[in-house]
């Protein structure tokens, strides 16, 4: 009985901590202004990034060499994005009301994840350029 109670409370706390942690990682990326280079590569034009671009952006991130220090953040945001996707598929479409607001919030969160992926790609591209310029000099 006590074990079951601890299990339920721990899972609930885990979900809450995980959501806050993922959002804290995403929040840091929102201060990052995307460079022209990353906009050119990804086709992002405005200040918004579509949530549907997330998977493609992560594929590009994986192709681009990085220092590896962003791996944990990428994994956390990827899991958060998948969780949001599952929730979105459970919310029935409605023209207005709480269901509509929930769906729009979930999409906004997923778009924030996509922006994080674009920022991660930008940082990796900058890292690669630095490596290349060091290589050329030596």
């Amino acid at each position: 009985m006590i074990a079951a109670l601890i299990f339920v409370v721990s899972i609930a706390a885990f979900m809450q901590f995980f959501v806050f942690y993922s959002r804290s990682v995403i929040a840091a990326s929102r201060k990052h202004a995307l460079s022209e280079n990353v906009r050119e590569v990804t086709g992002i034009s405005g200040e918004m990034v579509e949530d549907l671009q997330f998977d493609r952006l992560l594929q590009l991130v994986e192709l681009c060499p990085g220092s590896g220090s962003d791996e944990m953040g990428i994994r956390a945001v990827r899991a958060y994005f998948s969780g949001l996707g599952m929730l979105l598929s459970l919310v029935p479409q409605a023209p207005s009301g709480i269901l509509s607001r929930t769906a729009s919030w979930l999409k906004q969160e997923r778009a924030a994840c996509a922006y994080f992926a674009a920022a991660a790609l930008d940082q990796r591209m900058a890292y690669s350029r630095t490596l290349l310029s060091h290589g050329a000099r030596s």
């Binding site: 074990a3 079951a4 601890i6 299990f7 409370v9 721990s10 899972i11 706390a13 885990f14 809450q16 901590f17 995980f18 806050f20 942690y21 959002r23 804290s24 990682v25 995403i26 929040a27 840091a28 929102r30 202004a33 200040e47 918004m48 220090s69 962003d70 791996e71 944990m72 953040g73 956390a76 919030w105 906004q108 969160e109 778009a111 924030a112 922006y115």
Partner: protein, 234 residues
């Protein structure tokens, strides 16, 4: 559970733990995050000890079980000290340091006395289910303490991004570990699944802390209230 998986996670955890301590030394942050570094260093030492015991006696040996659970109990006490340090940091400006130190000492003494009393009355079955239950309770206490700390961060509008992420990562670690032990306690026949999850969850904390120390600057600010509400982005 494949040996390759366990060894990969082991090496990854150990490398990240060493990285955190060495990075603190290089950046002259070791004393600033003393209890955290001592805890991470102890985790690395435990990984090495467990690795050699496992190599010599095997995963299923009594020696490995004793090494794992005794070092885990010691690590939990060090983790309480880390939580105390985080409390101290959050309440520092309110000059509650003296009280935090007092409560920490009380908590440590209470945990030690409680553990001693339980061990004394269970000397005939110190392995197996008893240790699982004991670990489950200790991690759950850690989770409650971390949750209260998170509430304090929220109410006091603590904005140090590094501190916020360190606390959230600790919350993830405690809740996942307490849930795993509780699951194992509820379904002893499914222990292999819990044993599979153990190393993975163990690697989460060094991964998250290494990420925080590398990517989040000391002076970075974050308003925790924005994490609970709708985030508007660019």
């Amino acid at each position: 559970m494949s040996d390759a998986f366990v060894y990969t996670i082991w090496i990854l955890s150990f490398a990240l733990e060493v990285y955190i301590v060495v990075r603190s030394l290089v950046h002259k942050d070791f004393r600033r995050y003393l209890s955290l570094n001592v805890f991470v260093g102890a985790m690395a030492a435990r990984d090495v000890a467990a690795f050699f015991v496992q190599m010599r006696y095997g995963f299923t040996s009594l020696q490995y079980t004793y090494t794992y659970y005794y070092t885990d109990a010691l690590l939990t006490i060090l983790m309480y000290l880390t939580i105390a340090y985080l409390y101290f940091e959050v309440f520092r400006e309110m000059h509650f340091g003296r009280y935090v130190r007092g409560v920490t000492l009380l908590l440590l003494a209470g945990t030690a006395l409680f553990s001693y009393a339980v061990v004394q009355s269970n000397t005939d079955h110190l392995t197996g289910r008893f240790v699982v239950e004991m670990s489950q309770n200790m991690y759950f206490v850690g989770l409650v303490l971390t949750y209260l700390l998170w509430v304090a961060v929220f109410k006091l509008r603590e904005t140090r991004a590094r501190l916020v992420q360190l606390i959230l990562a600790l919350g993830i670690y405690f809740s996942a570990t307490a849930a795993t032990f509780a699951f194992r306690n509820m379904f002893p026949s499914m222990h292999s699944m819990a044993e599979f999850m153990g190393p993975l969850i163990g690697a989460l904390l060094p991964m998250a802390w290494a990420y925080t120390f590398t990517k989040v600057p000391e002076n970075a600010r974050l308003v925790p209230q924005t994490l609970a509400g709708v985030v508007s982005h660019r």
